[in-house]
């Protein structure tokens, strides 16, 4: 039973609001500053009127557009490949002997739990050793290593929820393994597959640290942002950060909606 404790409720509410403000204030500031630039007239700070100038500069900047294209390609390929790999790992986990399954699971998770700097460094050394030129392919590989655990988790939870009985029912009715996968398992897992892919896309799109190590001469959007910051602060940075924020927020929203729909259907 829920007890009424007005004082405690208010207090908790205040703490939550304060926490949210601390989390979101910098983000809101960045977004605001991308539309209203700071001006200094003889040492006095002020705001310029609303303008989309930083965005215009961004679009005019060929390097940034190229970085965006790279980021999109990487995120798309990496999330699709991760989806396929994660599915295969999850199928293996539910069907393999317990001991092998757990071993495989630990190996899948390790790169995610390691500090990204270690993962990035080891990848760099590995590519060096096998004499693999750094570029788009190495970025994609680096992202896959980092993303697969996340997608695997999402996919596995759903697969375990399905249990073996639907597979058994399908086989019992005369379907082959492949028919069972196509007609029963994958359709039942669709929400998990979509949210897994979106999650993978969002993580890949934002990933910086590992990418720094394996990018070679290629540049993704976060790396571009990093490089711009080193040279000096320009208004485009706010615009770019706002755009990345927006994409991530939209993906998060989509995942949230998807999961809510799933919960409603399950009840």
């Amino acid at each position: 039973m829920k007890q009424k404790a007005p004082l405690l409720d208010t207090l908790l509410g205040l703490v939550a609001v304060a926490g949210l403000i601390a989390l979101y204030a910098p983000l809101v500031a960045v977004a605001a500053l991308s539309f209203f630039q700071i001006t200094r007239v003889r040492g006095v700070m002020g705001f310029a009127p609303f303008s989309l100038e930083p965005y215009a500069a961004l679009i005019a900047n060929g390097e940034i557009l190229a970085a965006l294209a790279t980021s999109l390609i990487v995120a798309m390929v990496a999330s699709l490949a991760s989806l396929v790999l994660a599915l295969m790992f999850a199928f293996y986990f539910v069907s393999a002997r317990r001991r092998f399954g757990l071993m495989m699971q630990m190996m899948v998770f390790l790169p995610f739990l390691l500090p990204p700097i270690i993962t990035g460094l080891s990848l760099l050394i590995a590519f060096r050793e096998i004499d693999f030129a750094r570029g788009l392919a190495t970025i994609i590989v680096g992202h896959i290593v980092f993303i697969v655990p996340v997608v695997y988790r999402t996919v596995l939870v759903r697969l375990q929820l399905l249990g073996g009985s639907l597979t058994e029912a399908s086989l019992d009715l005369g379907a082959s393994r492949v028919q069972t996968l196509v007609h029963v398992i994958l359709p039942q897992m669709r929400p998990a597959l979509i949210s897994g892919a979106l999650l993978a896309f969002a993580i890949s799109f934002d990933e910086t640290l590992i990418t720094l190590f394996v990018a070679g001469s290629e540049t993704t959007l976060p790396i571009r942002l990093w490089a711009m910051m080193r040279v000096g602060f320009v208004p485009e940075i706010n615009a770019l950060a706002t755009l990345i924020l927006l994409v991530t927020a939209l993906i998060t929203l989509a995942i949230g909606l998807l999961q809510r729909g799933q919960a409603e259907r399950a009840s």
Partner: protein, 359 residues
């Protein structure tokens, strides 16, 4: 005649635990066979072995004289009604029911016609477009049945299909299942832990207990002539009186007990004279009469009024540990009974079964 299906001396282990031991079962064409046993006795495991979901550690599984060892699940001419129904929630009722035909590559028109036909058979004619989430428990049950019968299997396996339904729906589904089996002429292998359900539905019952077959036979045979104390206690209620087999005349056995000689009937071979045995008599088969010298006279301990019935508990001085239960229709004569009264207890030898006492 060759049986449709024959489980020959099958054993099964999970790790070091032996869950089935020397199971031998035949299923005839057209038969309603029930596997009855308490929870954990191995019923589901037997069904899963027939369906091909579990391997075996010993014995053979023969279908019309062919060994099924190398035949995978999807090539066995059996279909299963799972305990949790296992319906495909992303497909509507018609798609669920038509699934078996679809994966066999049948033409669409044929599938549609057959689905309509089968849905009619199970009484779901109008619900083809609904999704499983929009159905009641009883309706889902019928979808699972329809899905299992559409491919005209030689055998349908049902794992406690009625246990999730409420009492009223259960009785209705029992009648429906029985009539469906008669109409289709397909053999049903039905699992339940409910002895009344088994008795009401089956042509033949196989009772399993701790992974072994305890006894098998027609419902009436099992009920009238239990052969082990387990069966006597599991199917209905019995009074058990311990003694030693003194002699056999035809099917009627004389048993020496502490209370004097008693009679019981045995079907098939009798145990050797001198064996420890039990006499099993049902409460409703015991007659009560005025105490007479030389008869089995017991004293009324308690009388329980149960509405239409009355349950009288008596004790015999030579059998202090055995409460003799007698069930009567409550009437004027039972109303005059009172505790402390001494009465002669008796039964027809034909109504008493002889059990072999096991350790």
């Amino acid at each position: 005649m060759q049986p449709l299906l024959h489980l020959e001396n099958i054993s099964k282990r999970y790790g070091s635990v032996r869950v089935l031991d020397g199971i031998d079962i035949t299923v005839a064409d057209n038969e309603f066979l029930t596997i009855l046993g308490p929870s954990g006795s191995g019923k589901t495991t037997i069904l899963r072995i027939i369906g091909g979901f579990e391997g075996i550690d010993g014995g053979r599984l023969m279908f019309e004289g062919r060994d099924l060892a190398s035949v995978p699940i999807n090539r066995r001419p059996f279909n299963t009604v799972f305990q949790d129904y296992a319906l495909f929630h992303h497909m509507n009722v018609a798609e669920n029911v038509g699934y078996g035909l679809k994966v066999r590559g049948r033409p669409r028109a044929e599938i549609a016609a057959k689905v309509a036909d089968v849905l009619e058979t199970v009484g779901l004619g109008a619900l083809g477009a609904r999704y499983p989430a929009q159905l009641s428990g009883g309706q889902r049950q019928r979808v699972a049945l329809a899905r299992a019968i559409i491919c005209e299997p030689r055998l349908i396996l049902l794992d406690e299909p009625l246990s999730a339904l409420d009492v009223e729906l259960r009785a209705q589904m029992q009648r429906f299942l029985k009539s469906l089996q008669r109409r289709l002429g397909i053999a049903f292998v039905f699992i339940t832990h409910d002895q009344e359900e088994a008795i009401a539905l089956s042509d033949r019952i196989i009772v399993v207990h701790r992974g072994r077959i305890e006894q098998e036979g027609a419902p009436e045979q099992l009920y009238r002539r239990p052969r082990t104390p387990f069966i006597a206690a599991f199917l209905g209620e019995n009074n058990l009186i311990a003694g030693t087999l003194a002699g056999v005349q035809g099917a009627v056995c004389r048993v020496e007990t502490a209370a004097g000689p008693l009679h019981a009937t045995v079907d098939g071979p009798a145990p050797l004279p001198g064996s420890a045995v039990l006499v099993a008599v049902r409460p409703e088969h015991i007659t009560l009469a005025a105490a007479a010298p030389g008869a089995l006279v017991a004293e009324v301990v308690e009388i329980r009024f149960l509405g239409a019935n009355i349950l009288i508990e008596l004790r015999h001085p030579a059998l202090p540990d055995t409460l003799i239960k007698v069930r009567r229709l409550a009437d004027g004569s039972t109303a005059r009974l009172s505790p402390g009264q001494r009465l002669t207890v008796g039964w027809a030898a034909d109504d008493a079964a002889l059990l072999v006492a096991k350790g």
